[in-house]
Amino acid sequence: MAGLTEAQVQDRIREEAKKALATGEVSAVVGWTSTRFEDKTKPYFAETEAECDLLVWNKYCINGTGKFALDDRYPEKKIAIIARGCDSRALNRMLRDKQLKRENLYIIGVVCDGKENAVCEGCQHKNPLTYDVLIGEPVEEQIDADRFKEIEAFEKLSPDERYEYWAKQYDKCIHCYACRNACPACNCVECYADQYRTGWQGKAADREQNQVYGLTRAYHVGDRCIECGECERVCPMNLPIMRQTKKMLKDINDLFGDYECGLPDDAMPILGSYKLEDPDEFM
């Protein structure tokens, strides 16, 4: 781990958290703390110096921290976020979508070597991309040659097989909206699914409504997905949600060139912009 052991990183996190709180400009530091189970940690808001000592760093720190910055959109004080590579991309995403102000954030970046989480295997950004202070030495990034392998394999099935597969998956969905609430690209002030009186989204958790929800969400976040895998991790019914959003990303890469989201550049999301020379299939 980039020169530092897990315990050393944890000490550094606590130290930086205390420093941040001591400035008086930060209301809380968002990180992880232990639970009663050894292999689970939970997101934690440390608000006092003593609580900073409850922050932990280990391979089970899998929850995204970035989304918690949205809990208070008009904060009186800054909020400090302990950010791995994916969390920093989440923050970039929300900054780009103008949901957050950079001056309201204090980002404690931590170089991450992957967690006990399947999505980490394909991680292309172990180093935080945006931070105020960095813990650990930056490591060399890996290019994931298999980024769309799963999608390509699925595309080879027949249309009927694909439809059946998704229909069965959407039958399982219980409409808990955990995927939406965990997703840093799902940052609308009010989700269309919560405006159910307008008739966009029915409340019943049947196949019909689940298909609408699943495809709408996949499409809506498809060009802004940072591939953190939170949607799939949080799903209590184990729906392969990333398989939909990654399909969008794959097509975007094929049609409009190399594309990755949540980088510090100021690029507009694909569906929020256009180019005159875009390919045209509708002539």
Partner: protein, 358 residues
């Protein structure tokens, strides 16, 4: 009576002649793409010939409550305009057997019975389904690490309100079960599978929950005075506000009523709702008495641990551990119970790191 494990399918075969038998099994969804994995989900499904019955092991992800209280229940169909009419939809009169539900889930059905059938109001949809259900409870053999029902006053080995109680036979190493009828419905059920009776035997009832928690026996009364306690601010921070805990909970019974229109006709249905959603308490004018996740999670915990006691005299949390196992943020109601038990109800501030020297 004694039933050998190898006769389990035979027994369900006999029972399914006169009823739909719901038993825990694995539903497989095959991913036919290259390198794809077949996904298995443990759930209650109608018995089919040769079905694998997953009695032991972890409990199902979704509770069996949807057999009595379906996720989407159509209430009536209607036509509008000149030929306006209303056509009521009454649940089918099919006998159902709920086979192999755990004592925690059986207790949850007791709680739902109280809600839907007592206090001078009878929910006709629920009542209709309930009277057609026979329950066969199965004493836990391998509680999960998230199970804490015995701390909530439930015996993982015995479900007193079940129609039939089923336990592993002592000394059989899981190869035989002892079935005991508790009600007339249960006696009738055992009568049907009498031919498989392997004689007498003693039930093994020594399972203990893995998770033992320290709960104040008067926690409901203590919490009633802690509505404004600073603990709520602290413990709700990590919540992401999804509805997972309520939908996997065997005792969450809230529903919403909505309709779906197709031209001049439509259907009124009711479906599960979750108090964790922003529109749950939102009023027509837009005001929301529970504006943030703090108020919503507080309501959920208070309902489970205090409000329900006030109205029905029992705790609504049955300790099945589903919300503990499935919470995206790894929040833990058992941890809250311990923290609330230890907390000073009159404290002005709350910290997770008390007594630590700065």
């Amino acid at each position: 009576m004694k039933l050998a494990k190898k006769d389990l399918n035979k027994a369900l075969e006999i029972l399914s002649a006169g009823a739909i038998v719901f038993a825990p099994t694995f539903e497989m969804i095959e991913d036919k793409s290259e390198g794809g994995q077949t996904m298995a989900e443990k759930k209650f499904m109608p018995y089919k010939e040769g079905m694998f019955i997953a009695l032991d092991g972890p409990n199902t992800v979704k509770p069996p409550k949807d057999i009595l209280f379906p996720n989407v229940e159509k209430m009536y169909r209607y036509k509008t305009g000149v030929n306006a009419e209303i056509q009521e939809i009454i649940p089918e009169d099919t006998k159902k057997i709920l086979f192999g539900i755990r004592p925690c889930d059986m207790r949850s059905i007791d709680s739902m019975d109280k809600v839907f059938l007592t206090k001078e109001y009878v929910d006709s949809y629920y009542a209709k389904r309930r009277e057609n259900v026979v329950t066969v409870a199965f004493g836990c053999t391998e509680p999960e690490r998230t199970c804490f029902c015995d701390s909530m006053g439930i015996d993982p080995n015995n479900a007193p309100s079940a129609d039939v109680m089923m336990n592993v036979a002592k000394g059989s190493n899981g190869d035989a079960f002892i079935l005991e009828a508790y009600t007339d419905k249960g006696k009738e059920l055992l009568e049907q599978i009498k031919s498989l009776d392997g004689g007498a035997g003693e039930a093994q009832r020594d399972t203990k929950c893995q998770l033992q928690i320290n709960k104040d026996p008067e926690l409901d009364k203590k919490l009633a005075g802690m509505f404004e306690h600073p603990i709520w601010d602290k413990i709700t921070k990590g919540c992401i506000g999804c509805g997972t805990c309520t939908f996997v909970c065997p005792t969450c019974y809230c529903f919403d009523i909505d309709n779906e229109n197709y031209g001049a006709e439509g259907c009124k249905y009711r479906c599960w709702d979750s108090c964790m959603f922003s529109d749950y308490t939102r009023m027509a004018g837009g005001a929301n008495p529970r504006p943030t996740k703090k108020e919503r999670l507080r309501n959920r915990y208070m309902h489970k641990l205090s409000y329900f006691n006030e109205r029905y005299g029992e705790t609504l949390c049955v300790g099945c551990g589903r919300c503990v196992a499935n919470c995206p943020s790894h929040l833990d109601i058992s941890e809250f119970i311990e923290k609330a038990t230890a907390a000073d109800p009159n404290a002005e501030t709350y910290t997770d790191a008390p007594g630590k020297e700065a």
